[in-house]
Every structure is written in C-alpha cells, then in structure tokens.
C-alpha cells in the first residue's frame, strides 16, 4: 500500500478578516509529483506554509508523515522535509559556500557531492556574497539548500519564478530524477503551466481558498474539453453530468467547455446525430477556463 506523506483535512486559515483557506482537504502519496496552480492570492503559499507548521490552522488539521505538522518535534521527521520558500531565506552577508556550510550543520546526512554537482551544473557562483547575487542565482542557492539533505518530501513555493529557461529545464530534470525512483515526493506551486505539464503527475488548482481541482494530470486533460456545436443544436439529455463550465457563441457556433467529458457523452452526441467538434485543452487553457 502506498504511504501517505501529507494529509490535509478541512484546513481553514484566516488573516484578520480575510479567509485565505476555506476547508482544504487533500492528501499526497509517496512518489507523487504534484503541481499547485492558482491565481495570485489564491492561498497557495498559505496552504504550503500552514501545511509545514509555520502557522497554526484556525480549523482542520495537517499531518506530515502521520504527525501533526504544527507540533512536529522529531528531528528525523523534520529532516524528511525540504522547503524552498517563495522569498528566499538566505543570509546576505555570507557567500553561497558559507551559507551551504551553515545549512549542512543542521543535517547529519548532507550530500555535499550532490550539492557540488548541482552548483556546477546550475552555474551558481558559490564564492560570491549572497547580497551580490541576482534574484535567479539566489533562487538556485535556495533550492540547493533544500536538496542537500536529500529529503523525502520536497515542497517548493514558486521555485522557478526567477530562473532562466536553461536553469528551469535543469531544475525540472533534477525534480524528475529525484522522483523517478518513487521514493521522493514533490509538491510545488508555480505559475509556469508548461513546467508543471512537463513533470507533474497530479495537479491541484486553488480558487478562492479552496481546492477546485485535485486530479491526475492525464485524467484532468482527458476530462476537460472544448465542444463546438452548430448554433441551433440542442444538447441531448444526459449531458447534465458533463460539467458545463462555460457556454458562449463564436461566429455562429456554440462553444462549450466541459469539465467531466467522457466516452459516454461522445456516444450521446453520435446517437443524436450532432456534428460536434471535440477539442482537447492544454493545461493552461483548462486553468483559464476554470477561472473565466
């Protein structure tokens, strides 16, 4: 049976008068690579940081490897987690090398070989003072500091936002390599949907403090389609469960976006003799349709 590494149950979180998380429920299994999408202010960072115990939930619970995350005490359990915050948390007056040496002090199982290799591949100038590094270089250093102890669960909050295309590709390659043996779990938030499509096995889409989508990427893409029908065509009975997200008219053609498309609906269209065009959607299109 697959081990559940993170369980989020009915998580609520408010900042002053604003409810940021409204009853989020989800779980993460070992070996998954989960991409978290959402508009700015949707609650992605709050979800990730509350899940890691940086803040206490107003209601609900989060369990990391079976332990209440807000109360995690065990050093071994903490060392199973690697976290890259949205805003890097480096020490500006140190060089990259000094900072990594500092972080390594906290972890008995620090893999310096891995860090040296990645720093070389990602072109991180470790001998330069951190305050003189560019935002992208700081981000790379922040990622290195989260990978050195080879954590079982890696949580990254918009890790590639400031990286150049080559660094992004290298980073994604590394994520795939980490997850390929099925032992590591990755949960990352991003706005770059193409990256997510490249590596994620599952997608979470947040909207208004809730988890709107929690699906395997392939399933989501199979189920969400755009349907083009003649303007006068009527949908056959049985289409109610197809999950019509939007319906609009374009150049005399009906355009529908469906969130629960299946072969059954295809058969219904054929039986009704409707000349319909079914278009698969990219993840970016799906995201936009869900937020339209």
């Amino acid at each position: 049976m697959t081990e559940v590494v993170l369980t989020i149950d009915g998580l609520h979180k408010r900042f002053a008068d604003k409810a940021v998380l409204k009853g989020v429920t989800a779980s993460v299994q070992r070996g998954e690579v989960i991409g978290l999408l959402g508009l700015n202010g949707a609650g992605k960072t709050t979800l990730l940081e509350t899940a890691l115990g940086f803040a206490l939930a107003d209601a609900g619970s989060v369990k990391l490897f079976g332990s209440e995350s807000a109360l995690i005490v065990d050093e071994k359990l903490k060392h199973k987690v690697g976290f890259v915050p949205q805003q890097d948390e480096l020490m500006p007056q140190m060089t990259g090398k000094q900072y990594l040496a500092l972080i390594a002090e906290f972890y008995p199982s620090w893999n310096q070989g891995l860090i040296d290799r990645l720093a070389q591949e990602w072109l991180v100038p470790l001998d330069t003072m951190i305050q003189k590094l560019s935002v992208g270089q700081r981000q790379k250093l922040s990622i290195l500091s989260a990978l050195g102890h080879e954590p079982e669960l890696i949580i990254l909050d918009e890790p590639v936002a400031s990286l150049d295309p080559m660094a992004r590709r290298q980073f994604l390659k590394e994520i795939v390599a980490l997850a390929s043996n099925g032992d590591r779990t990755v949960l990352f938030s991003t706005h770059i949907v193409s990256d997510l499509e490249r590596v994620a096995s599952r997608v979470w889409i947040m909207k208004d403090g809730g988890l709107l989508v929690d699906d395997a990427l392939d399933t989501l893409k199979e189920r969400t389609v755009r349907l083009r029908l003649p303007a006068e065509a009527k949908l056959p009975a049985g289409f109610q469960d197809a999950g019509i997200l939007h319906r609009r008219s374009e150049h005399g053609i009906q355009v529908l976006t469906l969130s629960h498309w299946s072969d059954y609906h295809q058969q219904l269209l054929q039986q009704a003799g409707l000349n319909a065009v079914v278009e698969p959607l990219s993840l970016e299109d799906i995201f936009l349709e869900l937020h339209a």
Partner: protein
C-alpha cells in the same frame, strides 16, 4: 505644482500613523491658540502650542528624507519627467513648512529668543531631512540620527558656539551658512551617485555596525562551524556567532558615537593635552550615548524572533524548544552587553572625573533597559504589532526614562533612577512571560525577517 503638492502630502503622511498624529497636533495647537485668544498668555497655553507643533512636525521631519528616497527610487516614478527635481522641491518645502511651523510656535512661547529659536529650528530640520534623504539608503546612514543630537549637545559646550548663541544675527547667519553649505554638499554628492532601490523603513540591511564584522570573519567561517548550536545562533543572530564578534558589536554599539565625536571634535584638543572635561565633554552625555546600544539590542531581539522561522524545519523540537533556544541566545547577549557596558563605564571613569556611582548606575540602567527592550520588541513582534507602533512604544519608554534620569541628575536623589531600573526589570519580566505565551501561536506566514523584503528590493537596484 500639483505634483509637488502631491509629493508634499506624500511626505507628510508617509506612514498611516502620521495622519492621526498630525491631526492630534493640529488639535492641540489650535486649542493653545484659542486659549490664548480668550485668556491671554499662560504657561499651559504655550505648552499646548509647543506640544501640538512638535506632533505636527516631528514625523514629517524624521521621515521626509526616507519618503523622498522611496519615491525617487521607484522605477515607475523615477522615469517621470523632472521627477527628482519636483521631489526635491517638495522636500525643501517640507523643511521650510516644518521648521517654520515649529519655530513660530517656539518663538511665540519664548518671546525673548525668537530669532535664535527660528534659526536653530531651521538648521536642525534641514540637517535632518537633507542628511537622512541622502544617507538612509547607505550603510552607517542610521547613525546620523544618533550623531546629530549628540553633536548639538556637545557643540553647546564650546565657547565659540555659546558666543554665537548670544548674538542673534551671527547665529542666524551661521545657521543659514551651515544649512546652505550642507544642502549644497548633499546635492553635489547626489549628482555623482544614483539612488538605489529603497524600501520602507529607517534602517537598511547592514546599517548596523556589527554587520560588517561578518566580512572580517568570512575566512573563519569557511573553515566550518563548531557545531549545530553555533549554526543555530548564527541563524538567529543574522551573522556569524562567536564571542569575539559579539563583543565587537557590543563595543561598537556603546562607543561608536564617542569615537566619531572624538575624531571630529576632540582629538585636536586631546593632542594639546587637555582632559575631556576641560574641553567641554560631559561624561553623562557619553553614558547617555551608550544607552543607544540597548535600542539595538531590542532590534536584534525583534529580528531574532522572526528568524526562528529559519529554524522551524531544521532544529529538533516544538515551539517551546525553539523558544528556549532563542531565550538562551538572548540571555547570552544580555550578559555580554552588561560586561561591555561595565567596561565602557570604566573607560569613561578613567578618562574623566566622573563619580564612581554614576558608572554603577549606568550599568544597572543599561542592563535593565536592555532586558526590557529585548522582550518588549519580541512581545510586540509576536503579537504582530507594526513597526511604527513599536517605535512609539520605544519612544514612550525612552521619554519616561529620560525624564527620570534628568530628575535624578537635577535632584541628586537616587530613587528615580532606582525605580526606573526596577520598573524596567518588572516590565521586562512581564513581557518575557507574554512573549513566551504568544510564541506558541506565532504565525511565521506573517512574521518574516525584515531583511528578506529589503534584499529582494536591493538585488535589482535602479542604478
């Protein structure tokens, strides 16, 4: 002109707290004026007028320069045509308005000294604004806020300045010359240097003297840490943590002002073999300057409680354990500070004819105020109180402390200073307890070290 007016208003109400404070000031000043109209001249009326004008002018004068820097370093506004000229003009208008308002109120209250008061107010306001707008974005810039009042207090002892003070015309001319000269120098220096990205706040990353120590010890650091405890404290402190470093910081905190003043004002006299007291240096002023160090101790504590965020996923234990680690570090800091303050008092005692008991009281006051300020800033931080409110709390405490110290010096009675020390310890104890309780629910989604936001802004400077 509309843009200049908008910028003027921006400086005037740069922080949310400034609007109600300004309103309160206007209310008090108006009450003083109405009182005067109906009842004639009265000490209470003068006090209200003065207090009102201080409230109206204090924050704009203190923060106007920073507001200018922030506006001028914003990429969007920086590209507007003639923006810096207009922003500078608005700042100049603020100087004139603030100094004019306060000087009018002061001249009204001290009718024999009108010219002198006006000239002094103008030069002080100009120096504060002009200096801060240039220096606040630079390393060591925050020191100006320490240096100016101390320099003024020391200048007062110089016979030449005293003679100027007696002659209104000479004083006015001198003040005018100082202001124009200083402004011209700042403008000339600014011409050569572009403004770096500047974010809200008075003190830039690295502005405190001790931060430089890290550069010195960079070589040591590459050799590795002596253990996870050292690494933990380095994380909490924000710089490499060893006894030598901490002592260096403490000595700098205590003695940096006298050192600078010594270089500028006193060394020529000392070379001639005069004692400090002979050339107008009051040991009590030197001790008072040392008390600034406890403010920095409070700042370190405020930042440290946010830096615990860095340890949450790295150190074993729950929030109680992390609190203990933080508290242990602060206790260590406190002891080092007390030892440093005793050394500092000893040095002053050796160099001047200061009575011994002043040194003892200084150490007690320094230790108790540091204890209180450490936990005050920590308590306010974990309670998510804004920096402005924290500043106001500091100011209130300092006002009370200042009043009691002055009472002690004036009356030669020791009970005010003894009660102040006891009050600091008691308040510190209560705040420590409160911090400990609040720490269990601290929200590191909202409390993040100040340096993070600064650094993200500074890494892409508008050069």
């Amino acid at each position: 002109m509309k843009q200049v007016w908008l910028l003027f208003r921006h400086y005037l109400f740069w922080q949310p707290i400034m609007r109600p404070v300004f309103g309160l000031g206007v209310l008090l000043a108006l009450t003083g004026v109405v009182w005067f109209i109906y009842s004639g001249s009265d000490p209470g009326q003068k006090l209200l007028l003065l207090l009102g004008s201080v409230l109206m002018c204090f924050f704009p004068v203190m923060t106007g320069g920073a507001g200018f820097l922030q506006a001028a370093s914003n990429p969007r506004t920086a590209l507007l045509p003639h923006f810096r000229v207009k922003a500078g003009l608005a700042l100049l208008l603020l100087v004139i308005a603030a100094s004019g308002t306060f000087a009018t109120a002061a001249a009204f209250a001290f009718q024999d000294w009108q010219w002198r008061v006006f000239a002094a107010c103008f030069v002080i306001a100009s120096l504060f604004i002009q200096t801060s707008q240039w220096l606040l974005s630079r390393r060591w810039g925050a020191m100006v806020f320490w240096l100016l009042p101390v320099t003024f207090s020391q200048l007062w002892h110089l016979p030449t300045v005293r003679s100027f003070w007696q002659d209104s015309l000479a004083l006015s001319v001198a003040c005018f010359a100082v202001t124009v000269g200083w402004c011209a120098l700042i403008l000339w220096l600014q011409r050569a240097r572009s403004i770096r990205r500047f974010t809200v706040g008075f003190v830039q990353q690295g502005a405190f003297p001790g931060n430089n120590e890290v550069h010195v010890h960079a070589k040591v650091l590459t050799l590795g840490f002596s253990g996870s405890r050292s690494a933990t404290n380095t994380m909490l402190w924000g710089m490499y943590y060893n006894l030598k470093n901490r002592l260096g910081l403490q000595v700098l905190m205590l003695a940096i002002m006298p050192l600078i003043i010594g270089v500028v004002l006193l060394i020529p006299a000392l070379i001639k073999g005069k004692a400090l007291t002979e050339i107008g240096v009051n040991p009590i002023v030197l001790l008072a300057m040392g008390l600034y160090g406890s403010l920095i101790g409070g700042f370190i504590s405020r930042e440290s409680v946010a830096r615990v965020r860095f340890l949450w996923l790295r150190c074993p234990g729950d929030r109680s354990t992390l609190w203990q680690q933080l508290d242990r570090m602060l206790r260590g800091e406190w002891w080092v500070s007390v030892v440093a303050s005793a050394t500092y008092a000893g040095v002053i005692w050796l160099l001047t004819d200061m009575p011994t008991h002043y040194g003892i009281w200084f150490v007690l006051l320094y230790g108790s105020s540091l204890f209180c300020l450490q936990y005050l800033s920590q308590y306010l931080r974990v309670r998510l109180t804004s920096g402005v409110f924290t500043g106001l709390a500091y100011c209130s405490l300092l006002l009370v402390a200042g009043a009691l110290i002055i009472t002690t010096l004036a009356t030669e009675a020791l009970w005010p200073i003894a009660s102040l020390c006891a009050g600091f310890v008691l308040l510190g104890g209560v705040l420590r307890r409160g911090s400990q309780q609040s720490f269990h629910r601290v929200d590191w989604c909202q409390i993040k070290p100040m340096t993070l936001s600064r650094m993200s802004a500074l890494t892409q400077p508008t050069r």
